[in-house]
Subunit: 456 residues, 2 copies
């Protein structure tokens, strides 16, 4: 019998951090783990090389008339720092109460294991299941899936599925299933300011030049208005307001602001006017600072004026913004504000285009929606209602999965996204965990969805 | 024959970084080096314990009618980071051209070695030299000399000198001797801002809360006016304008703005109105950012909203500002500007009171100036003129040596400060070095000064 929790533990032990070359053994380990597991399930599995981390492709072929589902996941994880804030070792999965702790448990190793388990169990019960299945598990999601589009283009011939099925998205409580129908896009920038040609003694030279840290503060402080909006002319020009049914779905989720505030641990919200916090993270773009670096970082005092200061920024984008139609607006505004006395370089990091898929029977469902996609949405609504006790809610969420736009563009396929991680799962943060109760319901739901799809 | 360069090399190899406990062996090594050296010279030397790093005291006793000079220095050095910017290993002294490279070569191991060499040579020539000499070499100058005042209070009985003689101050070219007659004081603060209770995913939660990095930027940007002044009400209230003779001395130095700008490597100066850059660093206070830290510091992107952001600040103070009369003004202004949605803690780091000593025969020389102090100033003027070919210039400088105020307060003694390091020596920065030609002239000058003092 396939034990998903034991398998997940084994999977999480591979420290498959894609951003940092020193974790290359963890990347290799996670790849090998998946190849072995898929082969044990009777699938044809191979590691398809890319310029950086290979994509694991595992196929169950069959009658061409059978539906063909492509299940997407990623085996790479975020860096574990700051390490000192972890209560358990990030790569030694630990169960406490109804949660399993470890880097990648929720993003995305646990959710992928949900679908692997569903497939394993279905095939165990019915080795002749009339369903074609292709797992596509990439290793660069956390660094922007830079090589994924090339992979799709080169392997298009064997990715001739009917739709994408995946879980790299969230839910809001363990009792309510959420189907994600949109994700924000992303524009990532690194700004470096250079002042004096080398670090200077702040006593001997302080008071005669623009300190790059001050220049950084002035620049960064200029990028928002006091009401929390992004202070860049034209930034909001392409933003499309959500449809009424989307706001209604959000209301159905019956979210509690006070609990959310307590979860965040903040004294007050700071949300652009006209949007509740729950609307803002779904329907509004952002410009967020992810890191400031400059000068002395150690204990105590070092009386230095640094030569350089830098800042990492990510903008979250919403339809119809794209990295293409937003980057110049942002970069030009930042360049125009470069304080005198310092020079600036801006480096673009990875991008993501916002993504929206509309379920069947909505005011704005495209008339040409594929029957297979509609079929999967309906199977998920039925299975979800049975397993979770009430119908799923259809929501956009605030994160970014840029490869969805690539899948749509290259394969022409939309995605059905069953949410599986919770806000308190601490994605991208210390003490990441995955809820074992949700995992169990996810497996049960996914097994029913796939069984239903096999019926055609 | 005493070889000062070989001795300096040996001294610099001890990585005596006082700020960071991992360099404790370097501290111990530097102490032992000095004890051995002083004993070889026939002095009574001992390490006097303090709460952290011992003070090395070495005495040459004698007839109580002989003048008694106290020579101050410090054996501790700044941290060497950023290590990647060093062209030679910081603790492996390397001679290139007319310079010796290594952490501490200029601040303060080289200058102290100048006076040690002068004493060694004088005693070699005249073992009966009628001069009492006490070396006081501390190990916490770079971390604010926190225990030095206590040391002075506890050892006052054996520090009954006539004045302090020292070189922990700068010159502006290898051809012009400078006597330092004032130093700026310092107020050091660390500000930490806390937003959400833990790091958050910037996709899932971006757009609803004040990012501590943004709060830091807004706060820091508010602390200066666009013209380069500190934007804190009351900050300048105690500042005393320099005397006319001070501005005249500075003019005599004939400093070249263009060369200074090239040395700094900046496109333009950013100096408070009414002051040249050379005046600003001597006569004006500052509020300088020494470090920003927050969020992801590594390569690439991490889509995080950090829980905390922090900032290191040092204010340089000028007479009659003191840490005591300035700290509340600064701290209260910063607290009042704490952005909504974050909490703030401010930690005071080490302080220094500004110091001024006035040479004999100036418009503002105190009427009760001690004859021994005036004698030393005159000996230095004579020896300096002979060795350097022209009279010294008397200048305040921008750095801080807070212990001068302690020496004055506890021992009642003023200091005669012969400058020995150059702007291009890179103090507190990578590739620190010391000019061997200046070292040689410094030894020659100091030997003549001490010989003259012995004559009474």
């Amino acid at each position: 019998m396939f034990d998903p929790v034991e398998k997940l533990k084994e999977y999480v032990r591979h420290a498959s951090v894609s951003a940092d070359p020193k974790f290359i053994d963890g990347i290799a380990g996670a790849q090998q783990f998946l190849l072995t597991l898929f082969k044990e399930m009777g699938l044809q599995a191979e590691a398809v090389p890319t310029e950086r981390h290979a994509v694991i492709v595992a196929k169950r072929e069959g009658d061409p008339r059978w539906p063909h589902v492509i299940i997407y996941g990623h085996y790479d994880v975020q860096p574990p720092d700051p390490l000192t804030q972890w209560k358990t070792p990030p790569f030694e999965p630990t169960i406490q109460g109804e949660r399993i702790y470890g880097r990648g448990t929720a993003d995305n190793k646990g959710p992928l294991m949900v679908h692997i388990t569903a497939v394993a169990r279905l095939l165990e019960k019915n080795p002749d299941l009339p369903l074609r299945i292709t797992f596509v598990v990439e290793g660069e999601e956390e660094i922007g899936s830079k090589n994924f589009k090339t992979f799709l283009l080169e392997n298009k011939h064997r990715l001739n599925g009917d739709f994408i099925y995946m879980s790299d998205n969230g839910i809001l409580s363990p009792d309510q299933m959420i189907v994600t129908v949109g994700l924000r896009g992303m524009l990532a920038l690194e700004i470096e300011l250079t002042g004096p040609k080398s670090d200077l003694h702040s006593g001997m030279h302080g008071g005669v030049l623009m300190n790059p840290l001050q220049a950084l503060a002035e620049l960064a402080a200029s990028l928002h208005t006091p009401d929390g909006r992004v202070n860049i002319p034209g930034f909001y020009d392409k933003v499309v307001e959500p449809e009424p049914w989307e706001r209604e779905q959000l209301k159905k989720a019956n979210l509690d602001l006070k609990s959310y505030q307590e979860f965040l641990g903040i004294s007050k919200f700071h949300t652009p006017p006209g949007y509740t916090p729950f609307e803002a993270i779904r329907f509004q773009p952002t410009l967020e600072f992810n890191g400031f670096t400059g000068g002395y970082q150690g204990e105590g005092t070092k009386t230095v004026i640094p030569s350089k200061a830098s800042c990492k920024i990510t903008c979250r984008l919403v339809p119809n913004q794209t990295p293409g139609n937003t980057a110049d607006t942002v970069i030009n505004a930042i360049k125009a504000r470069c304080p005198e006395g310092v020079t600036m370089t801006i480096t673009r990091q990875h991008d993501a285009t916002p993504y929206v898929v509309i379920p069947p029977d909505r005011s704005n469902t495209p008339k040409d929606q594929s029957p297979a996609l509609a079929n999967c949405f309906r199977a998920l609504e039925k299975a979800g209602t049975e397993v979770w006790g009430k119908p799923p809610i259809y929501l956009r969420e605030g994160g970014s999965v840029g490869l969805l736009a690539d899948l749509k563009e290259v394969l022409g396929l939309d995605a059905v996204m069953m949410g599986l991680f919770l806000p308190e799962d601490n994605l991208h943060a210390p003490n990441e965990s995955f809820h074992l109760g949700v995992m169990k319901k996810g497996i049960e739901t996914s097994e029913r969805v796939l069984a239903q799809l096999a019926k055609g």
